[in-house]
Amino acid sequence: MYPVWEGFLIHSAMVVGIIAVAHVLFSHVTVAATWFNWWVERKALVENKPYLQDYLKASALRLLMLAYTLGAMFGVGIWFSVTASNPRSISTLIHNFVFYWAAEWFWFIIDVFGIAVYYYTFGRVSPKTHARIGLILALAASGTLAIIVGILGFKLTPGAWLETGLSLDGFYNPSFWPMLLARFALMFALTALYALVVAGSLPKDHPARQEVMPLAGKVGLVGLALGVALVVFWYVPSLHEHAKTMLRLPQAIQPVFYIKMAVGVIATGLVLLLALLAPRRVGAPLGYLALALAFLGLFGAERTREVLRKPDVIYGYMASNQIIYAEKAPRGVKAEAPRLNEEGILGRMPFAVAPGAKGAGPTAGLDPVEAGRALVALQCSSCHTVSKNTAFLGGLRPLPALLKRRGMTTAPAIRAYLEAIGGFPYMHPTVGTPEEREYMALYLERMVKEFFPELKAEGGAQ
């Protein structure tokens, strides 16, 4: 187990979420935009419409500056934020899929180098050569999607990997095909919004603007309808029973998640419909607004997907708090929870330290409350705000508020609650020796009183 980074002001999981959704938005726009632009470029060639080049140049410059740069970078940003917040989960992915990511790296090089070549060779090479570069970009960009989908899906539905430990089994997992196709379809809706922004930046009477707007509307609506249908009728049914249970649990997935998704889909659909039927009424600002709402929808969707595998970060293998719970894990990996229950966490984990303890030394002489803080940080901070470090704007599922709401503000009451935690479908039982659970309860009592000083005066509210 590694040191814990709770976050600073903002909870680490929230940081990961924001970066991840930004990446999804930029990268999805990028992938489908390469196909859209390739199609427009062919149209310009075949139908002899050179004015479409103006759209392509404007689109390519923005892709070069924003989508590729930020899309690729925020992708790496997810890595960085997860290595800080949940290193053992990314380590599991890396040790399974390092060569898949390395393969994706080849596509990244083509993407980043290729978009520069594409942009700088406008008018400097023959149209046929330029269109070929566009096609290469589209294929390579789709390659990045094709690879990352396998790794993303693995976390929720590792499938046969849990038995075999073979990376191919984890990559082509049970939700792989529906997720691949659904994302491929939905990204055309996002790209269509991006096309509206780009076309909307051209002069009002520019023929490219008049031609691209309805085309984007048409392509985007087909992608949106197909994508939503694939999610509802194939992706969700492909999930395991646990995920389906979580979908129905309002404590796990609050209704606001569904509202966000619905707003994103409806707003995207309406704007694309308007672009199809009345393209003159659509401009760049409306495109930006729709993209912002789509971002909201994506945030809801991605957060939902994350919560579906709770209490695990890799379903059936590793809990969100990075402890391996799987009784029967591949490649000879042993479950850690039973051993930690028996031998204790403080004595085994090098960074589970507290005053009085030297590294992995014995627990004697510990400050019990500080020891509890170390244990709570290890076991609870992946999903909850457990100190004022990450309490900005209320924090993420703040434990102090949760405990107060349930009337558990004293150590004995909290201790009893810790013992009962395994009863929820979205939580694993607390790990550690009985003594360590006592330490945790002592810290949690202090934490609740730090957040709610009035409880100190009352001597502990019930």
Partner: protein, 393 residues
């Protein structure tokens, strides 16, 4: 940190291949990464300096340098993904302890780079907004500083617990930097930035030497600046490198090897700076890549030595042969590398004439082959997927 604790932090799944290929890939891809990163820093610095000069050649060189910085930053970021992958496989205890202990900075790294890169683009497109360029440079240097700390942290395993929890009280905010060594940062960033810049300027002059619209005196000017950059780089690398050897090198017990490497690199390039010519730019590039490779091996040697004292050996990392993932990687490489070569050929050909130019018919056929390889990759990808699905039915 006890040896047992350090070893227990390795991922229980093990690596998917023998660690040696991973170690080699780590060093080789690091070389590509650092080449572009240092070129970006060097190019931007020279560009900002050039913007302050009024002479025509300087103004022109400033634009070239800034454009070089823009493209190098993009490629540097992309190339950096690979060593980032491989380091996590065989040095996971050091890397993840660093990224969590300095969590805030780890997380800020990409936003810092992204904003720096974006501002660099603004500078490039607007041409003369030097203020934006300085902010961009500051952000890129901050990113370099973060990465320097994350890498250097791994050399001090005996201090990790104390850095995370001073006096036993864990600091879970990740605000502080740990493990830094200014001479190392200076040698590997500023010294190499000047060297990389010198090499790239020579390549620029070499490429445009046959273009009639590019003035001869400008190319001679660029060549002169390249020689100056090589000389400056050699001096900076040598002096700061010596300090690095005497400080961090002494801490990990590798003073002499570091001194020998930095002295060799500094002397070779100081000597070469006087003889360097645009016609021999490719040779200079080859020489420089070799030097970067040696420095890359030295960095790995330091890591291996520091962790080795606690019984940690990357070569002893447990592994299983995961043939599926190896097949996937090799197949993708076979499809992708020719395409990358094709794109480079198109770019090379298009810049040969002022109005642009098509690549040769042979290159065009190679491009068609590239497209077929990409389509073939997708067929392979789907076929492999169907095979796995059927096998698991």
């Amino acid at each position: 940190m006890t040896p047992e604790a350090l070893l227990s932090m390795r991922d229980p799944l093990g690596a998917p291949i023998h660690p040696l290929p991973l170690q080699i890939l780590l060093v080789v891809t690091y070389v590509l990464h650092i080449l572009f990163v240092t070129t970006a820093i060097g190019g931007l610095t020279l560009g900002l300096y050039g913007l302050r000069r009024s002479e025509e050649n300087w103004r022109r060189l400033a634009q070239v340098s800034i454009r070089l910085a823009v493209q190098s930053t993009g490629l540097g970021i992309t190339m950096g993904i690979a060593p980032l992958l491989f380091v996590q496989v065989i040095y996971d205890p050091a890397w993840y302890s660093a990224t969590t202990t300095m969590g805030l900075w780890t997380t800020l790294f990409i936003p810092v780079v992204a904003i720096g890169y974006f501002l660099l683009y603004v500078l490039y497109l607007r041409g003369n907004l030097a203020g934006v360029g300085y902010v961009s440079l500051a952000l890129l240097l901050l990113a370099g500083w973060i990465m320097h700390n994350l890498a250097s942290y791994g050399l001090y395993p005996s201090r990790w617990v104390e850095w995370y929890a001073p006096g036993g009280v864990a600091d879970t905010r990740g605000l502080a930097f740990h493990g830094s060594n200014l001479p190392r940062f200076g040698a590997l960033l500023f010294g190499q930035a000047a060297l990389s810049l010198g090499v790239m300027l020579l390549l620029f002059a070499w490429y445009f030497r046959r273009r009639e619209d590019v003035p001869r005196d400008f190319l001679a000017f660029v060549e002169g600046q390249a020689k100056g950059a090589l000389r400056l780089g050699a001096l900076l690398f040598g002096l700061l490198g010596a300090l690095w050897a005497l400080t961090q090198g002494a801490e990990v017990g590798l003073t002499l090897p570091i001194l020998l490497v930095v002295a060799a690199v500094a002397l070779v390039f100081y000597g070469h700076s006087a003889r360097a010519r645009m016609e021999g730019a490719l040779g200079t590039l080859g020489l420089y890549l070799l030097a970067l490779l040696v420095v890359g091996v030295l960095r790995e040697g330091m890591r291996a030595s520091a962790l080795g004292r606690l019984g940690y050996s990357a070569m002893g990392y447990p592994y299983v042969w995961d043939w599926g993932s190896i097949l996937f990687f090799v197949a993708t490489g076979i499809a992708a590398v020719p395409v990358i070569v094709y794109l480079a050929q198109v770019l090379y050909a298009s810049g040969q004439k002022p109005q642009g130019a098509d690549p040769s018919a042979g290159v065009e056929r190679f491009g068609d082959l590239g497209v077929r390889l990409l389509v073939g990759w997708f067929l392979f990808y789907f076929a492999l997927g169907l095979f796995v699905v059927v096998r698991n039915l």
